[in-house]
Each structure stands twice: as C-alpha cells, then as structure tokens.
C-alpha cells in the first residue's frame, strides 16, 4: 500500500489556494464589463475550464496512441483520468456558457459551431465510458478505449470545421477585432491578469485531479489483483 505522495498533498493545497485567488480576481479584482455587466465575469472560468477540458482530450488521444504502441497499462490509466476529468470540466464549461448566454444571447443554447462541437465532444466521451463499461477484460478495455479516443480526437476538429459552414455567433475574444456585435469585448490589463491567472489556476487543478485519478486507478488495479489472489 503506497501512501499519498507529499508533492500531491502540497499540490492539493496549492490547487485550493489558486482556485480561491482566481475566484477573487474574476469576481472582485477584474473591472465590470461595460455592456454585459457582471455576467461577463463567468468568462474567466468558462475559458479556464474549456482550456483544461480540451487539453485533457488531446492528452487522452496522445495517451491512446502511446498505449497502442507500448501496451503499458499506465497509459490506459492516464487516458481514463484525462477523459474523466476533462469530461467534467467540459460540462462545467457548457453550463457556465449557458449562464452567460441567457442574458447576452437571450437563449440558454443555440446550435452554434462551438456549442455543437462541445456537445458532440461531450457525447463522444460519454460513449467512451459506455464502451469501457461493456468490456470486462482490462486489456481489451484499454485497447478499445485507446482506439476510440483516437477516433474522437480526430473527429472533433472536423466537426468544428463542418458546423462552421452552417453559421456562428460565438464571440472570438482572443485574436479578433470584429466580435463586439456578438457579445465580444476587448480586455483591459486587469481583465487580462484575471484571465491568465484563471487559465493557470485551472491547469494546476487539472494536474492535481488527474494525478489523483491515476493514483485511484492504480489502487483499483491493486484491489482487483488482491481479490483475484483471495479467490484462488
């Protein structure tokens, strides 16, 4: 039985602190946006969670490839951790986005490319868990999971490009000048501080959660092993 690594415990504390600071920066420190008002403050966490959500899906696809080439179960544990954590973060992103969209777009949901891609990506990874649930053999489960994350990781960007053909109203805040009409805005220095800090904070939290999940996966495997030994 391995005890919890000390670095992980430190990371837990750091995560809580950075989350608190990010919340302070987003809710108090950053100036109120002129047109949208306080609801714009959702933006900092919305982008923060979306960033780690996407990061996790990319990492999962890479872990999938790594698993298929090395057949090392550690990659499978990493992949599951990344998908699980990212699915949750992505869900938070969608919910936060809806909260913002209600007053700004006057609707909770619209079939905009980014929203649709987010929904489809979320569905891909829910399907991923259903696939894993249906397989008992851990080795086969890992193999199929890896193949599916790879397919999902490839199909999501194409989905985005395809739906873009239909229409878009999602604001592009970073690197765009003409988004004001869709609910975009330009950031002041203080907003930038809050924004980049929340990206940083969520990255830390993401690493912390993934680490925990990998550790949990390892312990799960160990329990399985012990159960097997007992029954023999």
């Amino acid at each position: 039985m391995q005890s919890k690594p000390i670095v992980l415990s430190i990371l837990d504390v750091v995560s809580i602190i950075v989350l608190g600071v990010a919340a302070y920066l987003a809710l108090v420190f950053a100036p109120t946006e002129l047109v949208m008002g306080d609801v714009q403050r959702v933006f900092y966490f919305h982008v923060g969670t979306a960033w780690v959500g996407l990061l996790g899906f990319i990492l999962a696809a890479i872990a999938g490839i790594a698993y298929l080439t090395t057949k090392d179960m550690k990659w499978d544990r990493f992949e599951v951790a990344a998908v699980e954590v990212s699915t949750m973060f992505f869900f938070i992103t969608i919910v936060l986005g809806s909260i913002w969209a209600r007053p700004v777009w006057n609707t909770w949901w619209t079939w905009d490319p980014r929203l649709t891609t987010a929904a489809v990506t979320e569905l891909i990874y829910i399907a991923y868990f259903m696939l894993r649930q249906g397989i008992e053999d851990p080795e086969k489960r890992a193999r199929f999971g890896a193949v599916y994350t790879l397919l999902g990781g490839l199909s999501a960007p194409i989905t985005f490009m395809v739906i873009r053909l239909f229409r878009t109203i999602h604001p592009v805040v970073i690197g765009s000048q003409s988004a004001e009409a869709q609910g975009g805005f330009s950031m002041t220095t203080d907003m930038r501080t809050a924004f980049f800090f929340s990206l940083f904070a969520f990255t830390i939290i993401f690493i912390d959660l993934i680490w925990h999940r990998i550790r949990l996966g390892r312990l799960q495997d160990k329990v399985e092993e012990l159960k097997l030994n007992l029954s023999l």
Binding site: V147, Y148, S155
Partner: protein
C-alpha cells in the same frame, strides 16, 4: 448457414493446404499456387463471401430496405413533407434514413461473423488483417449502396423529386457512404465484442460520424437547391478529408480491435 460452410471450407483449405505445405517447402521452392494470397485477393475473397451469403439469405438487405421505407414513412407524417418543406429537408431525411439503415446493416454484418465464430476463422487465415477490414468495409458499402440505389428512386417516385438524379448528388452520396462505412465497420468490430453489443454501435458511431453526416447533408442539400459549385466545395472537401483520414486510421488500428 451459407457463411459457415463456406468459411470452414476456406479455413480447411488454408490451414490444411497452404500453411503446412509452406512448412515443407523452403519459401523459394514453394510452388506459386501455395503462396500467401495477395492483399487484393484476400480482400476480394471476403467481399465475395459476404455478398454470396447475403444474396442467398437476403436477411440484411431486406431488413435495411424495409427499415428505410419505414423511416421515410414516419418522416412523411412527422415533418408533413409537403412541397415547401421538402425543398429544405430532403437531404436531411435521406441521410437520416441511410445512417439508421446503415447501423442496422453494420451491426448485422459483424454479428454474423462473431456469433458463429467466423471472425476467429477469418483471423486465423494467413492474410494481412487489414485485408479483413477492407473486405468487410467493401461488402458493407455494397449493401449500403444497394439500399440507397433502391431507396433513392422510391423517394423520387413518392415525392416527385427528380432533382436527386444528378451525378454530383449521387457522388456526394457515395463519398458520404464511404466515410460512414469506414468508421462504422471499425466501430462495429469493436461493439460486437462488448456486453451491450448492438445497442452500443449507434452510440459509438453517431458522434464520431457527425462530420460526415453534416457535410453530406450540407453538400447534397446545396445541390438540390441549385447552389453553385463554389458553395458546395467546402463541405465536399471536408467530406473527402474525412474519408481519407478515417480510412487511413481504420486501416492502421483495425489490428488492435481484432487481436486476442
């Protein structure tokens, strides 16, 4: 039954005939006809087997066809397909029908292999495993195209939609079917090996196949509404990109899906 007897026949031929003989002869001295079949030959053998089995039983095609007609019937009442609505939804209705009928066919075609242990037989054959993938994919594509070849004229007849008989429209249908079947064949090989089996295939397939369905709807809808070629070029390009990427990926990972 046709599948089984044929398969056992094939296997006997390969295990008893070709492989053991290859051990007796040094490779260079082995007679030509005992050599490992070429990739193309192996692929075609599987296609031939599937088509022969299907034309004897007609289980799959009849199910797909009846199902397609029912879907169109339901759409007729659900969407009130009058002339005005049809302008905008024909492409969507057709693609939904094909996608649903396609899953039916994909499920069945892989379940037959799994149920009677034929997949193991195929895997024992001394051929490249991706030949099995391409064989299954081509026969699945053939079934889907046959269904489309019957459903499209019927739809044209029922709704007086002669616009669907333009070469470009049929080309889009073909491209869309290729992409859908490529990823569908791979995923059906996965889903038959799980506990939930046929329930799982649409859940796995639809989110991954959304780009191909949307691009096809966009391109074929554009063609029906007399869009210029420049307007449908982007969905068409994406369709081709999807086809190429997913055929390549399926080709590369199929080994991992069937290995034991």
């Amino acid at each position: 039954m046709a599948t089984k007897s044929k398969m056992i026949g094939n296997r006997k031929l390969k295990v008893g005939g070709r492989k053991s003989s290859a051990f007796r002869f040094p490779p260079s001295a082995a007679p030509r006809f005992l050599a490992k079949p070429t990739f193309f030959k192996a692929t075609m053998a599987i296609v031939q087997k599937d088509l022969a089995a299907e034309f004897r039983s007609r289980e799959l095609l009849s199910a797909m066809l009846v199902f397609s007609m029912l879907v169109i019937l339901i759409f007729n009442f659900a969407l009130e397909l009058d002339i005005k609505v049809r302008q905008s939804v024909t492409a969507g209705v057709l693609w939904t029908t094909f996608a649903f009928a396609g899953t039916l066919g994909l499920n069945r075609s892989m379940a037959v292999e799994k149920d009677r242990g034929c997949l193991d037989g195929l895997l024992l054959a001394p051929v490249d495993r991706s030949a099995i993938f391409f064989g299954k994919a081509i026969s699945n594509l053939a079934f889907m195209l046959i269904v489309e070849a019957i459903v499209l004229p019927l739809y044209a007849l029922l709704y007086n939609e002669v616009r669907i008989f333009q070469p470009a429209f049929l080309g889009v249908i073909l491209l869309g079917s290729i992409g859908y079947i490529a990823v569908g064949t791979l995923l059906s090989a996965m889903s038959v090996q799980t506990r939930t089996r046929d329930v799982l295939l649409p859940i796995l397939l639809f989110p991954v196949a959304i780009p191909v369905l949307l691009a096809s709807v966009k391109a074929s809808g554009g063609l029906l509404n007399n869009a210029t070629f420049a307007e449908i070029l982007t969905p068409l390009n994406l369709l081709i990109v999807y086809d190429v990427i997913f055929i390549a990926v399926a080709f590369m990972v199929f080994d991992f899906v069937v290995e034991e």
